[in-house]
Symmetry: C3
Subunit: 382 residues, 3 copies
């Protein structure tokens, strides 16, 4: 049974493992069809709408190409990024753009405590509109990054890990180091590490989260990761040393993020429009970051990993030392060795998006995919 049918996809931890496996299986099948040059078109017409309340190139492309793969035309709702809208405005706008829409993808990751809440408001409005018969169909809401989770990213990461280690079942017992890393910027969302630790613990991995003091994740996600680790026979530990996390790791994910307290204060100041204090906050945050310049993924640290050959993961773009900045998340040597692999990791994202659309819109996505494979229509005809 497809539990995503007519539903949304906001947080991976709201869905059971069977559902997540179905997403991966569908994404893989679609990627195979696309690589074979076969058409995956299942919509004659229909809209995929995106709302980006933060700048985006990669996720935006992933959403649009995922929609296009299935035959949906994409459209962007131009919401101001600085505004935190709620209530009637959200309710009305959601309905106004829902009449002929199959899916609404939302990125809203700027304000801790806001993004997930906003996505739920949209979903609730669509549900109300559909129940009242205003909307003939109930568009699916897909989280393209919120303050809590970044599920299209973490699912693409998972797909990549499965491909590196020969299948999902082989992840059991593998050690993953999700580590904070230095970056000369501030205010990066927490959703990537939160998405990773809550997802990989479900597949029996031994997940170690490493970060300097003060850089902890939102408590709810830590609890979730602990619970999932216990359920899956994996483990979840938090340490304050990159070196410790990397020890014997099979895969490492070194990435910068902002302290929870900074993100909360930033939300407060932005809402209050206190521009001067925002600049002060940025200065302070960068100064704090600078105390941890040695949190860089380099050859010395990689040597500690299993056989010195841990897989290097990143959601891109990475802050690469001496390439994009003077002191970044990763050394040029380590990054360059894994560069094409990070591209492969990213390459799954359009298919994760397409799989989520297929699962939310069709009662029996497996039958749909089988039908596409059997039809074997070339994507380029004449």
């Amino acid at each position: 049974m497809n539990r995503l049918h007519n539903g949304d996809f906001l947080l991976t931890w709201e869905h059971d493992v069977a559902t997540l496996r179905a997403v991966l299986d569908t994404a893989e099948a679609l990627e195979d069809l696309a690589r074979a040059g076969l058409s995956c078109r299942v919509f004659e017409t229909g809209l995929g709408l995106s709302i980006f309340r933060d700048h985006s190139t990669r996720t935006r492309y992933a959403f649009r190409s995922g929609c296009n793969l299935l035959g949906l035309m994409t459209e962007e709702l131009d919401e101001s990024t600085s505004q935190i809208a709620h209530g009637e405005t959200v309710r009305e706008t959601a309905t106004m753009v829902g009449f002929l829409t199959e899916v609404i993808g939302i990125r809203d990751d700027m304000f801790l405590g806001e993004g997930d809440r906003y996505q739920r408001e949209v979903a609730t409005a669509l549900e109300e509109g559909h129940k009242a018969g205003v909307l003939a169909q109930r568009p699916a809401v897909i989280n393209l990054q919120s303050d809590l989770d970044h599920p299209t990213q973490s699912m693409a990461d998972l797909m990549h890990l499965a491909s590196l280690f020969g299948g999902l079942d082989n992840l059991k017992g593998k050690k993953l180091a999700m580590s904070w890393a230095h970056s000369p910027s501030y205010g990066k969302p927490l959703s990537v590490p939160q998405g990773v630790v809550t997802l990989m613990t479900r597949f029996g991995m031994n997940v170690v989260l490493a970060h300097p003091p003060g850089y902890g994740l939102v408590e709810e996600t830590l609890e979730t990761a602990r619970r999932f680790a216990a359920e899956s026979g994996g483990s979840f530990t938090v340490v304050d040393s990159m070196a410790e996390a990397f020890q014997d790791a099979d895969a490492v994910y070194p990435k910068s993020w902002a302290p929870v307290m900074v993100m909360l204060e930033r939300t407060r100041l932005l809402r209050a429009g206190e521009t001067d204090k925002l600049k002060e906050l940025e200065r302070e945050a960068l100064a704090t970051n600078a105390r941890f310049l040695d949190w860089e993924c380099n050859d010395a640290l990689m040597a500690r990993t299993r056989g010195g050959k841990a897989a290097y993961l990143h959601c891109l773009p990475a802050d690469v030392t001496d390439v994009s900045c003077s002191a970044g998340e990763v050394s040029a040597a380590v990054f360059e060795r894994s560069r094409l692999d990070t591209y492969r990791e990213a390459g799954h994202k359009p298919f994760i998006v397409a799989a989520l659309i297929l699962l939310t819109r069709f009662a029996d996505p497996t039958e749909v995919v089988n039908r596409l494979a059997k039809a074997a229509r070339p994507r380029r005809a004449g």
Copy 2:
């Protein structure tokens, strides 16, 4: 005979009642097909171009989803909103974006005396280009709101009224109060009330226009409404009291708009680039508005309507007291009771757009719709 074929749709009052009925019938048929999940695709390829010289979310979505429903890809021409272009620039640009375009939707409502004129310039340029063989086809121009009319809105309103009262013919003798209402903003276009009074008078309604002194509509539209009322056996009266307009009304449409004189002065100042005087004009206009705070559609006024139960119409977004502002067009209680109905009203707009495209592009739209119904291709296939 389809008189819209190869033509434009700029003002409802340029078309006969039979044509308007054909638009509604087609829109209804398309909405039925879409609600049944059937494909309305009639274009293999082709472009629907929009030019928005004012910010838009709802109409923009309506245009794009109407285009998509029929299989057109949408594209936006990014014109500066502050510029009042004419002459060779308009002529050339219109042709340059017309080569493979089926329809051009234009919103240009900021400047009284300009919007309709601009749309006609575009249409004339396309006509010239087509006659000279430069354009293989002559794209239709559809008014998505001008200084004079907002026909996709008023036609959606009419479709909504017809559905509320059991058909177009039942509108005869019903009383509609199109009333000015207070809003803490200035410069709202006149096209909605103008569109409503000129359209509803054609179907035998008794239309009462209510506004404070100085908030009258463009004279041409008042004359048109008077003439149509006489022809259809309805009536058209202008009063200066919301209460009087609401008395025994079957439907009310309370909505803010700017005084003609303010709009003309604004056009002049914008053209002259007199920023300081524009701010002064805004201050004065808001002060004038504030003298009519009691022009709010609330329970006391609604009690005066027929059985206390008049239908409440609005083009959205409404300025709702204590929700979106402190003193708006409508009380929260009245708005909340009719909220889902205003969503339904708006839901007709994508289908009005699609119907206009079908009627302007196909000689026999009825045959096209019948063919779609007979084919009954699901919009989501596999």
Copy 3:
């Protein structure tokens, strides 16, 4: 054999004449099909991505409608126009937006020495990604205007000339005057004249380039034009008088561009962020321009051309004296006589784009076009 298959189209002078003829033949065939109302759709799904690092209306529309004609959905990559990105950023972004993309159209004409280089970086990144198996397909890069060439424009110009003179072969021995003309603006790219002189010399035309001292083109393109003229039996000469160039000309192309030195200095100052010096440079450049106010294509000059009836070409928009400015490239009388012809010239551009897509994506484009002609599916069905 189709030599463009799986390749790019950056500079016309990188391709042999047979390839250019194939592009024109394909464009003509597609234009015929489109004018007959027949579908040219060859893609079930797929993306055409554009990157505009300079403002564009006409070329943007040409790219989008060319893509749409074949069934590709278009998407825009929103790159900052002021930024000169290179290295890892370009490499990564190119791959990130290439997974399901058939073609990437790039305009980057602001900085002399940069645009072509950027386009090659994108192409190299795509090549690497494809060879490594990251990209299942290798998107084609199409130059929508660089610092060196504007091939979709010059190929449309060539198609126009061929149609005016009864075929490509009839261009042999015809005289074309590519002349600088005055405009009250500065910093116009050199790519149009460079594209024209390097292309028309290949078809045996006698091309005369005229410009005031200091307004020469990039040396590489002059050499290329000289070489091609020698090969084709045409000629290429440079003069410093519009009148001389116009003498007995069969076609004239009077158009403003900036001196190479100004463009190089502008690139340097923009890169250094020297805003004050940029303003000074603009003042100086306009002052220099003003010394050549008499470089205007008017009736007196046109009278010198063959039979006084040379074809007037322009890439649009033209600076027309007393229409768009007080002293422009062309007099109102001359322009108005040829206005519809310049529209026709521009009308080929969407089909040039579509032809380039067809040739870069299909091994046997002739077979594809023949199949489309035979199928004869109407673009508007029911």
